[in-house]
């Protein structure tokens, strides 16, 4: 097997699957320095967003530890070939599971977790809100978004992805999707948000 260490600018251009394959090949070739370099790009590339996502879901004092656990689990599974689908999606599924596991453990050992509400008044710490079903409810936020997205057809999902999450203007979305008008984009985005609000808080429909 021939393994060729890559310079940084080429590592930067690799997709996740290619980067993981590079790390695996570097290991198999005994090029551990190159494998480490690949790991640096992969871990650094996702760690901050994993931290950010967990900071929405769990108390601040456990975010770093849980982010570490999620990254290690996801990379190990990708490395072993036991992960499912593309790495980024798999990683964020593991992030969700890690947050769920945290609350399960906290239920078994109540004193382990300092609930966000215990930080009330402390600067920079998110308190008990937002509450969907208590703190554990925040764990499911992304899943709720995905469920709501699934209620739209493929073309409309693409509109929502581009307009809401990629923050393209309605005009830019129309440039990318045949037969779409600015008004249609606005209507689809509005329907998505209405459905999302209703799913997150069924009482919200009464407020509209």
């Amino acid at each position: 097997m021939t393994f060729k260490p890559l310079p940084d600018h080429e590592l930067q251009r690799l997709g996740d699957a290619q980067l993981i394959a590079y790390i695996r090949d570097g290991r198999a070739a005994g090029e551990l320095g190159a494998a480490r370099r690949g790991l640096m790009f992969l871990v650094y590339g996702y760690e901050r967003d994993v931290n950010r996502r967990l900071s929405i879901k769990v108390p601040k004092h456990v975010v770093d530890d849980l982010a570490h656990d999620a990254l290690v689990r996801a990379i190990a599974a990708a490395f072993d070939g036991t992960s499912v689908g593309e790495f980024r999606s798999w990683l964020h599924t593991i992030v969700d599971r890690t947050a769920v596991d945290f609350f399960r453990r906290a239920e078994r050992r109540p004193k382990e977790a300092i609930l966000p509400s215990e930080h009330e008044g402390e600067e920079g710490v998110w308190g008990a809100e937002p509450a969907t079903d208590g703190e554990a409810g925040a764990v499911e936020l992304r899943l709720v978004v995905e469920e709501v997205l699934e209620t739209f057809n493929e073309k409309h999902r693409l509109v929502i992805e581009l307009h809401v999450f990629a923050t393209l203007t309605a005009g830019e979305v129309c440039d990318r999707i045949d037969g779409m008008s600015v008004d249609n984009v606005a209507q689809i985005a509005s329907r998505f948000r209405t459905k999302l609000r209703a799913r997150l808080d069924p009482d919200s429909e009464d407020q509209e």
């Binding site: 097997m1 940084d8 930067q12 996740d16 790390i23 695996r24 090949d25 290991r27 198999a28 070739a29 005994g30 551990l32 494998a35 480490r36 790991l39 640096m40 790009f41 871990v43 650094y44 590339g45 996702y46 760690e47 967003d49 950010r52 996502r53 900071s55 929405i56 601040k60 770093d64 530890d65 982010a67 570490h68 990254l71 290690v72 190990a76 490395f79 072993d80 070939g81 980024r88 999606s89 992030v95 920079g124 998110w126 809100e129 937002p130 509450a131 969907t132 925040a138 936020l141 992304r142 978004v145 809401v164 999450f165 990629a166 923050t167 948000r193 999302l196 609000r197 997150l200 919200s204």
Partner: protein, 208 residues
Amino acid sequence: MSDVDRLLAEYVAEHRAGGDADPREFLTRASPLQRTELAALIDAYLARAPRQQFDEASFRGSTAERTVDELERAIAGQAGLWPALLPRLRDRAGLKRSELVERLAAALGVGDREDKVAGYYHEMEQGLLPAQGVSDRMLSALGQLVGATTQTLREAGRALAPTGEGPAAAPAAFARRAYAEPAEAPAPAAQPPRVGEWDEVDELFRGA
């Protein structure tokens, strides 16, 4: 544009500009009624965000670097994910390595051979001890000290087994390299004695 739209747009702009983009800071700016919706949208946006560009200066000394150090020892060694798991479990249990070793030796009934236990345990954390040789009795005792099940520790030790093709994928090749070039050289005093009679401590750590 609603408050949620505006805050999401501001969040996305800060995130793309490489700023802190701390979700909690933005959530505190939303009204309680809108907070859950904003949290869901930020969470879903982050799960879609591409891998961040590597930055050497930011990486140095970061939590990402520590994770990479642990994963490097894991992929270079023979102990699966133990280098990424055991130090964290020990930290979370609030135990220094010397304290854990003392309690572990006592729990195993080999308190009079603490130095030897220390050497083996150090090898476990560094990924230098073949995981398959470690006995269930040892893992059970260790698990009770750090709050993990025997099964969790066993599965972590089995992870990352080399599966690729090529000459360097052979475990023996890694074993030689790992022992010759440990990522963090153990203190001489912590090296387990490899000479002398096989005893109960060897059986616990290498006899399975």
